[in-house]
Amino acid sequence: SQTIHQWPATLVQPVGSPLSLECTVEGTSNPNLYWYRQAAGRGLQLLFYSVGIGQISSEVPQNLSASRPQDRQFILSSKKLLLSDSGFYLCARATGDYGYTFGSGTRLTVV
């Protein structure tokens, strides 16, 4: 199984509040993991990439950070949310056939 679990499915947070979105994966160990943001139901923006525990690459400087405390756990965080952080956040893992498997996503609305 290469299932990806993301939670929560929906989140409404006030501006300035902290954020923690969690992604856990099943299957093979040491997967490459990704966080994407999708605004307005359109294109995907790669936010972070991780090849292993404690190894995070950031693609876009912003208000967000990521951590990988365990092999199959990938966390997206913010200390203070902005309105512009609203969007649909997707976690993905690389599969053995060169593609990705995606989680079901988290809809974040910052109010």
């Binding site: 990705y100 995606f102 996503g105």
Partner: protein
């Protein structure tokens, strides 16, 4: 830059008619190409891929795609559209990234609407 392009933001097709969602790519070397579908408030689901071999690739839900090297295209097709095919479709290509690794680069997506 190595990338994919989806020239149409939206495609409308009548139910029962054939559908085509366009994708062109720009990569050096042999391309690894993918199509994904996204239903509202859901993650992306894999439809099909081209790595090597036959230019016509068959995938899930009756979809197929044709790899055309001379036109650098990988258009998604289905002979007879269903209302349930209405969704957002993404084309993607595997590109070299950091330290010998690779990642998928996605097009901006095409919204397919199948009209009853």
């Amino acid at each position: 830059a190595q990338s994919v392009a989806q020239p149409e933001d939206q495609v409308n097709v009548a139910e029962g008619n054939p559908l085509t969602v366009k994708c062109t790519y720009s990569v050096s070397g042999n391309p690894y190409l993918f199509w994904y579908v996204q239903y509202p408030n859901r993650g992306l689901q894999f439809l099909l891929k081209y790595i090597t071999g036959d230019n016509l690739v068959k995938g899930s839900y009756g979809f197929e795609a044709e790899f055309n090297k001379s036109q650098t295209s990988f258009h998604l097709k289905k002979p007879s559209a269903l209302v349930s095919d209405s969704a957002l479709y993404f084309c993607a290509v595997r590109v070299p990234w950091r330290a010998g690794s690779y990642q998928l680069t996605f097009g901006k997506g095409t919204k397919l609407s199948v009209i009853p």
